[in-house]
C-alpha cells in the first residue's frame, strides 16, 4: 500500500485511474480515447460534460465561460495581463510565494505590476494581510494557495477592482463564491485531473477591453468562441478530468469534500503541534489544507524520518528545497486513511527517537 502525498501531479481516485486506463484500450467501439477525433460527437460530449461539471461543482453563475486550455498556470501569468491590462495601466499583485512572484515577473511585457504586499523577506511563511489595492488598478491578482510554503488565503481580500486568482492548488477543495472573481485559473494537476490541462473561468464582460492586438491562441475570446476547441485540445487530460469531476460529484460535491479536507488537515496539524519531534513552518492562521509543511525540531532527524517514511510506502513527502523538511500534500483524492497512516508513522518515529 502506497500513500501518495506528492505535491502534483498528484494522486487521483483509484477508480479514475481504472476508468482512464480502460478508455486507453477501448473508449468507444474498440477505439482508444487516444485515437478518436476531437471533433467526434463522443469527444464533444466529453468537453461539454467537463465544462458542465466545473460549472455545477463550483456553482459558476451565468455570464462566465469555462475554458479548457493548455500551457499551465505559467502561460496564464502572461495571458492574464495580455488580455486584461491596458497599455500604461497598472495591476495590483499580492506576492505570497514563488508562483505569485513568477506571475508578477510576466506583467512587465504588458504594463506595470504594483506589488501591494510581499512576505518574501520572511521566506513567505505568512500571507500579507494589511495592504491597500489602489482603486485604479486594472485588476487585483493573488494566489489562493501557496504549494511550496503551505499557506492558503481563505478569504478574498475586500476590493472593488476585478479579481484574478491563481487557484491551481486549492480549486475544487473548498466552496468558493465564483461571482466575486472575474477570472480564476488553475493548472489541472492537483484536484482537477492529470497534467496538460489548464482550467480558466472567466467573466465574459471583462474581455476585449484593452485595445491590445492579441495573437489568437493567447486571446481568451478565441477559446470562448471556439468552445475550448479552437485547436486540438489535450484529449486524454480532459477526459480524465471529466472522470475525476464525476467522482467529486458522486462524493457529494465540494461542500462534502471540504469537510473531509478540513478533517484531514486538522488531524495532521494536531499531530505536528503535539509531536515533540516536529514543528510547522508557517503562520498558524495561514496554514494550508492542501500542502502541510513541517520540519524536525532536530534537523539531524530529517534523514532518518525520510528513510522511515520511504520504507513504509510514503511517497512525495520531501519538502520543496526553498523550505526544506517535509510537505504532506493532501488533495481531494488522498484518503483520510493515508493521513492516519502518516500520523501513526510520526508517532512511532517519536517513540523511537524522543529524548
Amino acid at each position: 500500500m502506497r500513500h501518495n502525498f506528492g505535491a502534483g501531479p498528484c494522486i487521483l481516485p483509484q477508480e479514475v485511474f481504472k476508468q482512464a486506463s480502460s478508455a486507453v484500450l477501448d473508449f468507444k467501439d474498440g477505439l482508444s480515447i487516444l485515437e478518436i477525433s476531437h471533433r467526434s460527437p463522443e469527444f464533444e460530449a466529453v468537453v461539454e460534460e467537463t465544462v458542465r461539471l466545473v460549472k455545477e461543482l463550483l456553482n459558476v453563475p451565468s455570464g462566465y465561460s469555462v475554458l479548457l486550455l493548455q500551457g499551465g498556470a505559467s502561460l496564464q501569468f502572461s495571458m492574464v495581463p495580455m488580455n486584461l491590462l491596458p497599455e500604461g495601466k497598472s495591476a495590483a499583485y499580492l506576492d505570497s510565494g514563488v508562483w505569485a512572484s513568477k506571475a508578477i515577473k510576466e506583467v512587465k511585457y504588458f504594463g506595470k505590476a504594483n506589488v501591494v504586499a510581499s512576505s518574501k523577506d520572511s521566506n513567505y511563511t505568512f500571507i500579507p494581510k494589511d495592504f491597500e489595492i489602489p482603486a485604479d488598478s486594472a485588476y487585483f491578482h493573488y494566489t489562493s494557495n501557496n504549494t511550496i510554503y503551505g499557506t492558503e488565503l481563505f478569504d478574498l481580500p475586500a476590493t472593488k477592482v476585478p479579481v484574478v486568482c491563481d487557484m491551481s492548488s486549492d480549486i475544487m477543495s473548498r466552496v468558493i463564491d465564483v461571482s466575486k472573481y472575474d477570472l480564476i485559473y488553475a493548472g489541472a494537476q492537483k484536484n482537477i485531473g492529470p497534467a496538460g490541462l489548464t482550467v480558466v473561468i472567466v467573466k465574459d464582460e471583462i474581455l476585449g477591453k484593452t485595445d491590445r492586438a492579441i495573437p489568437s491562441m493567447l486571446d481568451y475570446k478565441s477559446h470562448v468562441d471556439g468552445g475550448s476547441m479552437y485547436n486540438t485540445p489535450p484529449v486524454f487530460s480532459i477526459y480524465t478530468a471529466m472522470l475525476n469531476l464525476r467522482w467529486l460529484k458522486s462524493k457529494g460535491g465540494i461542500a462534502e469534500i471540504e469537510k473531509e479536507n478540513i478533517a484531514k488537515a486538522k488531524a495532521l496539524y494536531t499531530e505536528i503541534d503535539r509531536n515533540s519531534l516536529f514543528k510547522g513552518t508557517c503562520a498558524v492562521e495561514d496554514r494550508s489544507r492542501m500542502n502541510i509543511c513541517f520540519v524536525m525540531e532536530d534537523p539531524e532527524l530529517e534523514k532518518p524520518f525520510a528513510k522511515y517514511a520511504d520504507e513504509n510506502g510514503f511517497e512525495g513527502l520531501k519538502g520543496h528545497r526553498s523550505v526544506g523538511g517535509f510537505r504532506a500534500s493532501m488533495y481531494n483524492a488522498l484518503p483520510i486513511t493515508s493521513v492516519h497512516a502518516l500520523i501513526d508513522l510520526m508517532q512511532s518515529f517519536e517513540e523511537k527517537y524522543k529524548k
Copy 2:
C-alpha cells in the same frame, strides 16, 4: 475489427495503447503515470528518452534542441514570429492550405508576412512551385503536409534564408535532413503520440536575435534552458509519445516506416485511379502519403459509400468539409492490412454500383 483512418488525433500502435493503459494503473511501485511527480527521476528519464528518440530517429545534428511543449501547432504560429521575426522585418510564407494560412494570420502581431505564393484560388489542390524567397526574409515558413487537402511538399524549396516548417502531419513518416531546417514544429497527434504535446526542433543559434522582450512561456529559450521542464509538462502525452517512438525504432526507424508508407499510399492511389467510381482531388505530383483525399465521380454515391464503409468498420473516412468526399489518413501506425481492406471495400462497392 475497426480500421481507423482518422485525420488526427489518430491511430497509434495497439502495443502502445496497451503499455499506456497499463502505466495509468501502475507506472512505478503501484503508482499511476498520472500521479507521479514530473520532477521524479523516473519521469525525468522519460523526458530524456523521448528527446533522445526524437534526435536519434530524425538524426538531429548537434546544435539543435528538441522541446516538448504544449499548445499545438496553433501556438507555434505565434511563437515562431515572436521569437524569430525582428520588428519591422518580413518573413516569407508559402500559402499551401488552411493551416499555412492560419500561420500567416498570426504574423501581423509581430511583423509582416510576405506570402510568396498561394494556391488558395484553386482550393489548395496543388502546392505552388514557382516562387522567389526574398533574400532579406527573416525566415521562410511552409507546411510540409496539408492534412485537409492531401498535398505534401517532399523537397524543401531552395533558399538561403532560415527555414521554418510545420511538419505536424508528416513528421516521422519519411526521412528528412534536419540540418536544412532552422526550426521544425509538430503537434504530436499524428505520428508522435497523443494530443496535448507539441514537439519543436530548433537550431540554438537562431534564438535570441530579435531584441523583442518575450514572455517566459513563449520564449523558446526558457524551454531550452529548462530542458522542457520550465513548468509542469504534459506528463502522460510525453510518456505515450516515448512508447510510440520506441515502437517506431523497433520497426527499424523512419527509413523502414517510409517504405511502408510509400507502399500504403501507392496501393490506395492506384485503386483510386483504377476504380471507375472514385477520383483523387489534388495534383498527382503533390499527392500526400499521409492524407489521401478522394471523391466519387457520381456525388450521389457518396452517402451510400460512407454508409457501406461505416457498416464495415471503417472509421474517420469523411473528408474535411472544405474538400468533401473522403479522406483516408494513413499515418505510421495504420497497418497495411487496413489499406488493403479499404481497397477491397472500394472494389466490392464498384461491383455493386458500376454502370
